[in-house]
Symmetry: C2
Subunit: 342 residues, 2 copies
């Protein structure tokens, strides 16, 4: 039997700050950080208190990584592809165009060597990372006009972030970086022609359907989007073992929570959108194929000049191939049967 250590009675009271990249209104993503923080407090008898701040409250939404790296805050919760501009390698911890679905991404990360590879990468930023949720396959966004062919992408101004934007640029689209709150007026005025955000439950809040009623699927640039908890390595190393364990295990609960929230709430949100006149479309086969080809080119180009990217890309690509092979046998046929029978 294990001996009972004297540790428990001498645990320190700690007050940490966690900066989220997201607004409080996103009960999906922001909510996951709250679930995490609540659990850590509960596990430690209230001694380890991690206060969660919304994007912009103490750190700008897109500078969460920098703030953890600098030691300004102890923790962050973010979508790592926001830091794609620093290094596209961050995308493997989040979403890659035509990448893995939610379960495959989790499997690669937890049991397929992904976590080890990403942790090595994050060391250079003084960060240790923990899996922190997934949205599942995202939507392809809101368009003012229908998009039938590649021609329609020419010169199209679209609010789309990092990696997806880089792929679409190859096909003549003009990607724009616009913060969530500014998307609606930009679409309304016609400054942009299209905008992508997340999935029905989050998209509904932005009200984009009122000014761009054509809602496309799937969001191939985010076949699943994994979120991450960041902890400064220096702070991490100072923690008692029980507190480290509390952070690690609570991140799994947040991971389960977020995907379940999206899966439970998206159906009703989509139904409401359709009632409000939203027109649902699928990207044409021509567009999907061209985007897939462009995405592979962008990946290969990056791998040829970025050793850190290449080191993760190669095993990631093999895992994706094998995972899809297996999913084609039982999971996808079962799913396809059920969506026609419900």
């Amino acid at each position: 039997a294990l001996a009972a250590p004297a540790l428990a009675q001498s645990q320190p009271t700690l007050n940490w700050r966690l900066a989220s990249s997201f607004p409080k209104t996103l009960e999906t993503v922001f909510g996951a950080a709250e679930v995490f923080s609540k659990r850590v407090a509960q596990l430690t008898g209230g001694k380890f208190n991690i206060r969660v701040f919304a994007g912009g409250e103490i750190v700008p939404a897109l500078q969460v990584m920098d703030a953890v790296q600098a030691g300004t805050i102890e923790m962050g919760h973010t979508a790592p592809y926001y830091f794609f501009g620093k290094d596209p390698t961050f995308a493997f911890d989040c979403a890659v165009p035509f990448g893995m679905n939610s379960r495959q991404q989790t499997a690669w990360y937890e049991q397929g060597g992904g976590k080890q590879l990403m942790r090595e990468f994050y060391k250079d930023y003084g960060i240790i990372n923990f899996i922190g949720g997934n949205s599942g396959a995202q939507m392809g966004g809101w368009f003012r006009k229908e998009i039938h062919s590649l021609k329609d992408l020419q010169g199209l101004k679209m609010r789309i972030g990092g990696y997806g934007g880089r792929v679409l640029q190859k096909l003549g689209l003009v990607p724009q970086q616009i913060a969530a709150g500014d998307i609606y007026p930009a679409l309304e005025k016609g400054t942009i022609d299209a905008a992508e955000w997340i999935a029905p439950v989050d998209d509904e809040r932005l009200g984009l359907f009122k000014v761009a009623p054509h809602y496309y699927a799937p969001g191939w640039w985010e076949p699943s989007t994994q979120f991450s908890f960041y902890v400064g390595i220096k702070e991490w190393e100072k923690l008692p073992k029980e507190y480290q364990a509390a952070i690690e295990v609570a991140s799994y609960e947040a991971h389960v929570y977020m995907q379940a929230e999206y899966d439970a709430k998206n159906p009703a949100a989509l139904a409401r959108l359709l009632k409000n006149g939203v027109k649902l479309h699928s990207f044409s086969k021509e567009i999907m194929e061209a985007c897939y080809k462009a995405a592979n080119e962008v990946n290969e180009e990056e791998a040829s000049k970025n050793a850190k990217f290449k080191k993760i890309y190669e095993p990631w690509k093999r895992f994706r191939h094998d995972a899809n092979q297996w999913f084609s046998v039982a999971e996808a046929p079962m799913q396809n049967f059920m969506i026609t029978h419900k």
Copy 2:
């Protein structure tokens, strides 16, 4: 800020026993209980020690529920449909023919009201339940001869458990209950014509491909199979809050671990099986449609005479419908594109 309670220093040392329904060789399912136990110990500085026993070690594999109910052991880890014979309602905490996929099941359970409904049901057994893993869509099992039409199911003797067996019985198949270790000799001698087990990574160990080379998909009776941790309510209520939190949160880690294990290991296991001459088949459309119809009949029959079943079946059915509607928009099209491109 939260006050630091005096609790931590006075936490008791507890030694609990957890009976798994599975053999130690299943690193997927048995492994999840070990991950759980290890984490609980770590979170409590080794004071809360839950020892994991394999199926049959201290409790027969299929009597784990009874043992927790009787208070012989404090915890169990099992596939609740094993108790289908006591009440088919157990299946909603595990697998229902043509039920939900792994993500949908988790979403229903965690954010769709499923957990509350199941906990109410389990109260009558003196048990509180926690989500404890999923296998994903299972395989349709091993057949000595090819199965083309409904005719081929007539009189076919197949090792298949509870709910799936009851559905197939409607179509003339003769279901058999056989423990894992006895399947191989029964197939070899021809005492049975077919047998289902789990998925490539587990099936490979049983070696069934040597005596029944036709491997069918999908296992529509288990579109996903959720596992459960059971705790005796009386023992649960005596626990300090931190220990309760440790059990609850560690169950989420085990949940993530098991699905990731299956998803990471099945591809290579399937590849090895194919190398060994296994012939992969899909159930024909005729068979799938007839089984779907029979499954609905069995569900409706049960609902008409079992109030506990009906109470969960109705909201479960609505959730399944809505979830599949939503999955048909982004998730399935994305998955279908990827399995043809990999």
